[in-house]
């Protein structure tokens, strides 16, 4: 039997969720508004999505965003998975400090991350210039900046996925004739895989959505979608930007739902005797 919820409590819950989601809802609705200016409803249209795709700068920013997101996700997934595996497998006295160091980039304000990366890159550039090499802020700087915060998320998802598994699984594989590489490929990796995929999806959406760190590390010529939205909005909110934001929200939500579905424990999966 369901317990009856107090009406005031459910009203409060609606209020909280409304506060969280109404702005996004308004944004989505107005992306279908047949009016050049926001504020008044002038009928339903999907033309802004067409306008959006026709814009050269949007297409370029989209390509940049996807390239950065895909390559940074690839790198951070490999590195983060290895970190997560290491944290699961080895019990050293460094385990706690290492976990702490992983969580820190998640809670450090983005602005601080952005400024520190900007400084770091100019230091590296200064050092490189002594040898005659140099680089511009752009794709590579943004991409590696994203990797720095993505690794933590991947490592933590992989570790939490493996947390319920006995470390003797690896020994069992070795015992049955598998070399350490084979036991990794045939036992550990398949078990960690949902965590790896979920971590990768999470990393992908984080890169897709990131504005602050990207803004600091992208230089002048390189724009991703969030940066493009920001610079466009400075000139006034236009419906096509609403459409663009709606698309970003959509991709992110789908990715997060997928990540959750992958990670959700199946009933009895970790049942122990």
């Amino acid at each position: 039997m369901m317990r009856r919820t107090h009406p005031a409590l459910s009203a409060w819950a609606w209020l909280v969720y409304g506060f969280l989601y109404l702005p996004i809802l308004v944004l989505i609705i107005f992306s279908f508004n047949d009016s050049k200016f926001g504020g008044t409803w002038a009928g339903f249209t999907t033309k802004w999505y067409g306008v959006l795709l026709a814009r050269e700068d949007v297409r370029e920013a989209l390509t940049n965003t996807l390239l950065v997101a895909l390559s940074s996700t690839l790198i951070s997934t490999v590195l983060g998975t290895l970190v997560g595996l290491g944290l699961w497998r080895y019990s050293t006295r460094f385990r706690l400090p290492l976990t702490f160091l992983l969580v820190t980039p998640i809670v450090i304000p983005d602005v601080v991350m952005g400024v520190s990366l900007l400084m770091f890159y100019s230091l590296v550039r200064g050092g490189l210039e002594l040898t005659g090499w140099t680089f511009e802020n752009g794709f590579w700087t943004v991409m590696f900046a994203h990797v720095t915060f993505q690794i933590s998320y991947v490592a933590l998802t992989v570790r939490s996925r493996l947390a319920g598994y006995d470390r003797s699984l690896e020994e069992a594989a070795r015992d049955l004739g598998a070399s350490s590489v084979q036991s990794f490929l045939r036992v550990i990796l398949p078990l960690a895989l949902p965590g790896v995929l979920a971590g990768a999806l999470l990393a992908f959406t984080l890169s897709l959505d990131d504005f602050v760190v990207t803004y600091f590390t992208s230089g002048s010529g390189f724009r991703t979608l969030p940066v493009l939205i920001y610079t466009s909005v400075k000139k006034g909110v236009t419906p096509d930007i609403n459409a663009l934001s709606t698309l970003l929200v959509l991709v992110t939500v789908v990715a997060i739902i997928a990540a959750n579905a992958i990670m959700r424990p199946r009933p009895g999966r970790r049942g122990e005797a």
Binding site: E171, A172, R174, D175, G177, A178, R186, G268, R269
Partner: protein, 355 residues
């Protein structure tokens, strides 16, 4: 063989100290001891998960020291079973053979036979999570024996099961070992389990083998106080050798002179420790003395069903006596505070090595 571990603070603990064991081909050999005695470490050294600091491991005459676990002719049944959760029962059992490159009909045949042997023939498509504890135990067994290892290592495999299932599997395991003729090395802290199943037992304590022998030898003739009390219970009585003859020794104790059939080679005047099992003490009411008798008073009685356990006070020492709960002669039951005569048969009074 020696083995030391360093803990997180860098302090070294010797977990195995001067181990020298010769396990015979085809025997059921048990390593018995309390937790922390080094038995699991010894097993892990045999499996190749740990390396000894000094000494060697030979399997079938070949030196296996330093050989990684995947290249040793041994397989392990883990305490936690360590079944691969992402693989079906069949694929779990087939893992080792596939690793050796065996496939096709030979694989199906051998996996099928191993699963039949441990009676999990119908579970092939199930995942380990959908099995009961006992069934998982059988899968772990099948996964190991299917490889026909020279030695099967079992690390407290029954400890997670309930008592009834444990007893069932004890019998099954020893039958299995006899049928297969495989060498089993079985680690346990359960003395009864070791006694029931093993051909020979090594009792371990603090990294050393205290005594090695058949179950009966260990129980009837323990050599140290540790063995006397770890395998079952014992009454320990200190004393000094008074007289030695070819038929045994006479020891002066707090209870007077006690004769034993052991200790013919001891020197007079030596401090010794006598040990006698509680069920070997005979409680009597009559006063006529025939020697080797101790006056005692019943302090407490514990009824356990099959036997009555009497806690007795004798000359300031606490003794324990078990008397079978037989209906023949119901007047044999003794009361609290009752004065009794305890007869200590000379053949049951063992002399321990350390005084």
């Amino acid at each position: 063989m020696f083995k030391s571990f360093r803990n997180a603070q860098g302090a070294e603990t010797r977990v195995l100290d001067d181990i020298d064991l010769d396990i015979r081909k085809g025997e059921f050999f048990s390593l018995l001891g309390p937790s922390g005695c080094g038995k699991t470490t010894l097993l892990r050294i045999l499996a190749g998960f740990e390396q000894p600091d000094a000494g060697a491991v030979l399997i079938g005459g070949r030196d296996m020291t330093g050989v990684p676990p995947n290249l040793r002719p041994v397989n392990t049944v883990f305490q936690s079973y360590a079944l691969f959760p992402h693989l079906s029962v069949y694929d779990n059992v087939a893992f080792g053979l596939r690793q050796k490159g065996i496939g096709g009909a030979a694989l199906r045949d051998r996996v099928g036979r191993a699963m039949e042997t441990v009676r999990i023939g119908d579970f092939g498509t199930r995942k380990p999570d959908n099995l009961s504890g006992g069934q998982r135990q059988r899968v772990a067994l099948a996964r190991a024996i299917v490889n026909e290892p020279e030695v099967l290592l079992l690390d407290e495999p029954l400890s997670a099961l309930d008592l009834k299932l444990r007893k069932e599997l004890q019998v099954e395991l020893s039958n299995l070992q006899e049928t297969l003729g495989m060498t089993f090395v079985f680690v346990t802290h359960d003395q009864e389990e070791a006694l029931v199943m093993s051909d020979r037992i090594a009792v371990m304590n603090r990294g050393r083998v205290e005594q090695l022998g058949k179950a009966e030898d260990l129980y009837e003739r323990p050599r140290t106080a540790f063995v006397a009390n770890f395998l079952g219970q014992s009454n320990l009585i200190p004393g000094k050798v008074q007289e030695v003859s070819p038929g045994g020794a006479v020891v002066l104790t707090e209870h007077g002179l006690l004769r034993t059939v052991y200790g013919a080679d001891l020197s007079v005047g030596r401090e010794v420790m006598l040990s006698i099992r509680p069920e070997k003490l005979r409680m009597e009411r009559d006063d006529e003395t025939e020697g080797n008798e101790v006056r005692a008073r019943v302090d407490d009685i514990v009824y356990t069903g099959a036997e009555n356990q009497y806690l007795l006070e004798a000359n300031g020492q606490r003794l324990v006596a078990f008397q079978l709960n037989s209906d023949i002669g119901a007047d044999e039951d003794f009361d609290y505070e009752e004065e009794v005569a305890l007869y200590l048969p000379p053949a049951s009074l063992v002399i321990l090595e350390e005084g």
